[in-house]
């Protein structure tokens, strides 16, 4: 069985042609790691057995071809088998974030109910504890583990199952991004699109059977789902997997996994380089050899040279070198990767004049010691069969080094937003407008900002207006009298969230209640932490007609006042 590459692509019809399923031998498919527990190794044959068992169980509860199955589970092996079990039936699975202790159950269930109603989901798979409460809210059946998946010895028929082969153009699965805004748009990807992406991407990565992928990424996020889950199963290379909750608290787990399993590829959002460099204790990384890694691929939030530098210095003793630091620019709408820098080489850095960038929308190349010089890290060239162009405000195609909106066209794009015929992702010529701003230099893509009012914090996309809607509900906050914006932070290597809110109360104890409620409500509703809360007097906020300008101007004012100690 060859690997899926541009050359072998014609031999593949659907995701069910996955190497792990077609050659179910004793090689490891997934190695699941947890702090303080022994690793669990799932062989390909065990994986195959579990997938068929799940498919049969799903069929028993009435799931069939083209039915949408939402998997709102903790990240574990059962959710993985359930996903592939649904694919096996020709159904359409979609991974969804689970309810965690931090989230407000009411808010979460309301959005789940909305999602299942809007997308006409056939079923939701979740944990036993969570199922009864969620079932009261959702229009479709909600199954806890024991509701749909019988114990191994109780399951009778698995062999009679008719395997219905989906057609290449059919929807394979959906990806949802986070937040109120993201929830309303399920990115529908066909088998064909996913196979096209993975074929092109395998060529860009020079993927081989010797590769081992390690991932802590959530499976409801495109990077975790495609690069860190579908890709290794489909290509038949081992996946060393851990839960994001575990990794965030215990970052050294990832490094031990690389050392132990000689992992070769690892995708990380930019903040993770800082998190690893700053929060892995020396005694936890001592003696670990990270030289097996062909590429740490920085993806899904703006790449900062400082983060790469910090990571390099911190782990030089563990044999990390600059040539391992690669970059990719990706989005769910293109299945995953749009570009990839060369693996085995350090991603290029372009020194540009920041003032010229802001003044003329030109990325003028300057010497590193020139005034206003700032490094931009290249995302590499587009992968095969993906095209990128930069357009100006009037829709005109811009030349190299001119900054404009990034448009993408490829053979691996979404079919559409699921059950949202009102949202047309493409223009008349089939280009997708990404909302990101960037430029091209020597054929390589550089991303410098975005048109959308979006905060990317620790790899998570957050819309300011979503957070503002949450805080307007807090007692003591008046709608329209608070703003939310992102503040880039060098130390964390990501954007941090700031709230500025006007309050009328002056009593210190009352103000503390509001202060705590703001932080708590945001965590509970959106599962992101707020780093800065400033309670200000009435009249502090600068009012403008558009939400976006209000955020920018108030952010400027906040930065000045915070710098000189007034806030």
């Amino acid at each position: 069985m060859p690997m899926l590459t541009l050359e072998t692509r014609p031999q593949w019809r659907t995701l069910l042609d996955s190497a792990t399923l077609l050659v179910p031998d004793e090689r490891p498919a997934i190695i699941y790691l947890e702090t303080d527990k022994a690793p669990v190794t799932v062989t390909r044959s065990q994986f195959m057995g579990e997938v068929i068992r799940c498919a049969a169980a799903l069929q028993t509860v009435g799931i069939g071809a083209r039915d949408l199955v939402i998997i709102a589970h903790i990240q574990n092996l059962e959710s993985i088998y359930g996903f592939w079990g649904a694919l096996w039936l020709g159904a359409v699975p979609s991974m969804f974030p689970t309810l965690t202790e931090k989230l407000d159950p009411d808010h979460y269930m309301q959005s789940m109910a909305e999602l299942t109603r809007r997308s006409e989901a056939k079923a939701v798979l979740t944990t036993d504890t969570f199922a009864p409460e969620l079932a009261k809210r959702c229009a479709c059946p909600v199954y806890g583990t024991s509701d749909w998946l019988p114990d191994r010895d109780e399951q009778s028929e698995t062999t009679n199952m008719m395997l219905r082969r989906p057609k290449p153009g059919e929807i394979a699965f959906l990806q949802h991004s986070s937040g109120t805004t993201g929830l309303q748009k399920g990115v529908a990807l066909s088998h064909q699109a996913v196979l096209n992406q993975l074929a092109s991407y395998a060529s860009a990565l020079e993927l081989s059977e010797k590769d081992v992928i390690v991932s802590w990424l959530p499976l409801y996020h495109d990077m975790g789902l495609i690069a860190g889950f579908i890709q290794p199963i489909l290509q038949g290379i081992p996946l060393v997997l851990m839960s994001p909750f575990d990794w965030v608290q215990h970052p050294a787990l990832l490094l031990r996994a690389i050392h132990e399993y000689r992992a070769t590829l690892c995708w990380l959002p930019n903040f993770a380089y800082n998190h690893l460099a700053r929060r892995v204790r020396v005694r936890d990384s001592e003696g670990l050899d990270l030289s097996s890694v062909r590429a740490f691929i920085n993806c899904s939030e703006p790449v900062r040279q400082g983060s790469h530098q910090l990571f390099l210095e911190r782990f030089a003793a563990n044999s990390v070198t600059a040539n391992q630091l690669a970059v990719s620019y990706a989005m769910a709408e293109n299945t995953f990767a749009v570009t990839q820098s060369l693996v085995g080489e350090i991603a290029n850095t372009d020194m540009i004049d920041l003032e010229a960038l802001q003044r003329d929308l030109r990325a003028a190349s300057v010497a590193a010691d020139a005034p206003h010089a700032a490094p931009q890290v290249s995302c590499g060239k587009p992968i095969a069969n993906t095209m990128v162009k930069i357009i100006g405000d009037q829709g005109e195609v811009l030349p190299e080094r001119s900054v404009g909106e990034v448009l993408v066209k490829s053979d691996c794009m979404l079919t559409g937003y699921y059950h949202r015929p009102d949202l047309q992702p493409f223009d008349a010529e089939g280009w997708y407008k990404t909302g990101d701003r960037g430029y091209i230099a020597d054929g390589e893509i550089y991303i410098v900002g975005r048109s959308k009012d979006l905060i990317i914090t620790a790899g998570k996309n957050i819309y300011s207006q979503d957070i503002e809607a949450i805080i307007y509900e807090v007692e003591g906050i008046h709608p329209g009298r608070a703003v939310v914006f992102g503040v880039p932070d060098e130390r964390e290597g990501t954007e941090l969230i700031a709230i500025v809110a006007e309050v009328d109360v002056t009593d210190e104890a009352d103000r503390k209640v509001i202060y705590q409620a703001l932080r708590q409500q945001v965590v509970r509703a959106a599962e992101v932490s707020v780093s800065f809360v400033s309670l200000v007097e009435r009249g502090w906020l600068i009012k403008t007609s558009s939400g976006k300008t209000a955020r920018t101007t108030n952010r400027e004012k906040w930065l000045v006042e915070r710098a000189d100690g007034r806030l």
Binding site: Q249, H250, P251, H275, R279, R281, V522, V523, S529
Partner: protein, 83 residues
């Protein structure tokens, strides 16, 4: 180092680096993680700080929300192994 010194060092660290607000009136038994004041990333950071500042190594299984939720809990965990 006395317990009071450990407490003050931890308090300063939490206010400056984690909550990023020196004016915040943090109480000893306030749920810092459960109250949304800090996130899971900060748990790993507390581990680093405890090692650098007090030379106390808190193993991963002890760096959890339940075991590090209040200033009192953190102080007690550091004091246990403080030499």
């Amino acid at each position: 180092m006395t317990e009071t010194e450990v407490r003050e060092k931890l308090r300063q660290f939490i206010l400056t680096d984690l909550i990023k607000d020196l004016k915040y009136a943090l109480t000893d038994d306030e749920g810092i993680v459960s109250g949304g004041l800090i996130d899971s990333f900060s748990l790993a950071e507390i581990g680093v700080f405890a090692e650098q500042e007090f030379n106390v190594y808190i193993p991963d299984p002890d760096l959890t929300k339940a075991k590090m939720n209040t200033l009192n809990l953190m102080v007690a965990r550091v004091m246990r192994d403080l030499k």
